[in-house]
Amino acid sequence: MTFSIEEVKKELAVRMPDIKLRTIRDSLLIENPENLPRVAVFLKENPAFLLDYLSSVTGADYLNYLESIYHFYSMAKKHGPLVLRVRVPKHSATVPTLVPIYRSAELQEREAYDTFGIVYEGHPDLRRLFMWEGFEGYPLRKDYAQEDSETLETADVSWLEARGVTVPAEMKQKAQELRDSGERALAQKPLKPRN
């Protein structure tokens, strides 16, 4: 890295004094996510940095908030990385997209949307990347509850019976019990835990 994080901070403070930044280790946290595209354009076009290559976009769940983390490099000047991060609350996780500036964000933002539910505003094609449309929940969030793969639920039972498959009585009964208690069949904790 031929520049330090402080240089970037200083330069940004001069050019865009309204943007609040905070240094977290080797990275810069942009306090207001709305400012992210401006910072990105600045970094991309400023001849001192020329960060023309957005290597990685990823999300992370810190229980109270979600984070979107960006790793920038420069192909022209062969330096980097500069790490930017923005934090958004879980209930309204919207971050402006970087796709108009960096095409490389396209699939990665879709991935972060898929796994963490971070909505990238302005993304041209924000669909789930890996999971299917209609999948509920964001599986990499720490509070994601996985389904139990061995217990049939009423939806399964009715689906199977509509197709002429006989479902054993005890499975039917268990599904009905679950339904009556208003619970979903979720992955269970170990019965005899080892660790």
Partner: protein, 243 residues
């Protein structure tokens, strides 16, 4: 959509009846089985890592062609054997079942590798199907991660042995009124609907893994998030990795 199990039996009186005119049937059986087992054309269908070992088995060193099985057909209509080589994800499972349905009888399925058998190393994932035998009957299970190409050849020979022991009157696909077509699962909000096909597979009563570890490894469920700001500054990087 009618469905019956793989093993359809012939009632005993009929069998004794047949035993009398054994010679013809035995010869027929032999010819039929010999033809089928000497010309098993697999489907060109690779899922994941194991597919590479499957290709390696078709390549010069192992040469599956010696068994007459090198004609990997891309169209399921012309294939006899489906080598399920790799992780079947929940997103992929409907397609696998559909492909199996599209194959003409007699057809066989071989699960190659731990992932296809049980979910393997990825068993705890939210998008990983825990064994394709939940939806379709599997003829040969071939463990390993991935199995060596030789192991695939071994599996193929096991399948040949299995075919050789079949009898033409008892094979499921020649029974009257039976249609071996398996319902194709659909995408649901949390996973596949149904979770398994109880006519093909049912969870076993004893499942030590489930008892010991639960259905997901819950070790990683943490209650406290790290605070990168408060923690000490990072140590200098290894000198070998100097920029």
């Amino acid at each position: 959509m009618g469905f019956t199990k793989n093993k359809a039996g012939v009632d005993t009186p009929l069998r004794t009846e047949l035993a009398k005119k054994g010679v013809v049937w035995t010869t027929l059986d032999f010819l039929y089985n010999w033809g089928r087992r000497s010309s098993i054309w697999p489907m060109q269908f690779g899922l994941a890592c194991c597919a590479f070992e499957m290709i390696a088995a078709a390549c010069a060193r192992y040469d599956i062609a010696r068994f007459g099985a090198e004609l990997f057909r891309a169209s399921p209509r012309q294939a006899d054997l489906m080598i399920i080589s790799g992780t079947v994800t929940k997103k992929m499972a409907p397609q696998v079942v559909r492909l199996y349905n599209q194959m003409p009888e007699p057809k066989y399925a071989l699960t190659m590798g731990a992932c296809a058998i049980s979910g393997g190393p990825f068993i705890d994932g939210y998008n990983v199907l825990r064994g394709i035998d939940r939806y379709i009957p599997v003829d040969v299970h071939l463990p390993g991660c991935p199995p060596r190409p030789e192991a695939l050849l071994h599996g193929l020979m096991e399948l040949q042995k299995k075919i050789a022991s079949q009898e033409i009157q008892k094979t499921a696909w020649y029974q009257k009124g039976l249609k071996r077509e398996f319902p194709i699962p659909e995408f649901g909000p949390n996973g596949l609907i149904p979770k398994f096909n109880p006519e093909v597979w049912q969870p076993s009563k004893e499942n030590p893994r489930r008892e010991h570890y639960g259905q997901t490894i819950l070790v990683g469920k943490k209650l406290k998030a790290p605070d990168l700001e408060l923690a000490a500054a990072p140590q200098p990087a290894a000198p070998g990795a100097a920029a």
